[in-house]
Amino acid sequence: MASAQELQVQKKRELENKEETTIPARIFLPAADIYEAENDLTVILEMPGVEKKNVDIRVEDGALIVEGRLDLTNYQGLQPVYTEYNIGHYARSFRLSSKIDQNKIAAEMKDGVLSLKLPKVEEAKSRTIQVQ
């Protein structure tokens, strides 16, 4: 499915929040892939530099909120001399439809990629209808 076109760098998009952050830092939106299978919806977020223990996922008011924090101690004592991208925490939220069973959301994190599985509620699974 991936074409042979050249890989492009996606400049990081900054998070535009209705509320201001209390820490004076910039937060970025992780790139997301969303695809739907028969029984569940999968959301994949790329958050390089974020360890599994620094990921915070919660469901609030029908919204799925994902936050990933970077460990800044790795950058102490380093002086930037050539930079092409910015570094920061990640946050993104998605509105969940009522078709998702919010209690059964599962998450897996590997190599900076977070995969969320959102199972659909029983009634939302598509049914084929026989034509008589």
């Binding site: 499915m1 991936a2 074409s3 042979a4 076109q5 050249e6 890989l7 492009q8 760098v9 996606q10 820490i23 004076p24 830092a25 910039r26 790139a31 997301a32 892939d33 969303i34 695809y35 739907e36 299978a37 028969e38 919806l41 999968t42 994949i44 790329e46 958050m47 390089p48 530099g49 974020v50 360890e51 970077l70 800044l72 950058y75 102490q76 004592g77 380093l78 002086q79 930037p80 001399v81 050539y82 930079t83 092409e84 991208y85 910015n86 570094i87 920061g88 925490h89 590997k110 190599d111 900076g112 990629v113």
Partner: protein, 141 residues
């Protein structure tokens, strides 16, 4: 000119400001050749040596190729995003494909002591400066 990160609350913000400030840096402008701009690389200085940090989430460690010679480093590999059969894609923002990037640095490196570490989607290359490149003090007799 040196950005020191002292205040813990401002630490991330100062780092981000320092990174932004150097986005237009001339340091490597005429010396870098690449197939394309992916993946984005940040180069830091740690004492005498350099540290290159590259964001490569979701890559198989074995598919990353790092080569070094004199003052050039080359990073190549394949980034794959695979989807199961028969799914309907709602949103596609992640990129996948092959990458091959060469970076010319203004210092001579010691290729035997270069260390590469891939963790949590970040490839960190520890690039020590070659001994011949470091300034030697000369005794005046």
């Amino acid at each position: 000119m040196i950005a020191t990160f002292v205040d813990p609350f401002d630490t991330l913000f100062n780092l981000q400001r320092a990174l932004e400030g150097r986005l237009e840096s001339d340091w490597l402008r005429d010396q870098t050749t690449s197939q394309g701009p992916f993946p984005p690389i940040n180069v830091f200085q740690q004492g005498e040596d350099l540290l290159a940090i590259i964001e490569l989430p979701g890559i198989e460690k074995d598919s990353i190729n790092v080569q070094a010679k004199e003052n050039i480093i080359r990073i190549s590999g394949k980034k794959a995003t695979t989807y199961p059969e028969g799914v309907s894609v709602h949103r596609r923002e992640r990129m996948s494909g092959e990458f091959d990037r060469t970076l010319s640095l203004p210092v001579q490196l010691d290729p035997d002591h270069i260390k590469a570490e891939y963790r949590d989607g970040i490839l960190a290359l520890f690039l020590p400066r070659s001994e011949r490149d470091k300034p030697h003090s000369i005794k005046v007799s």
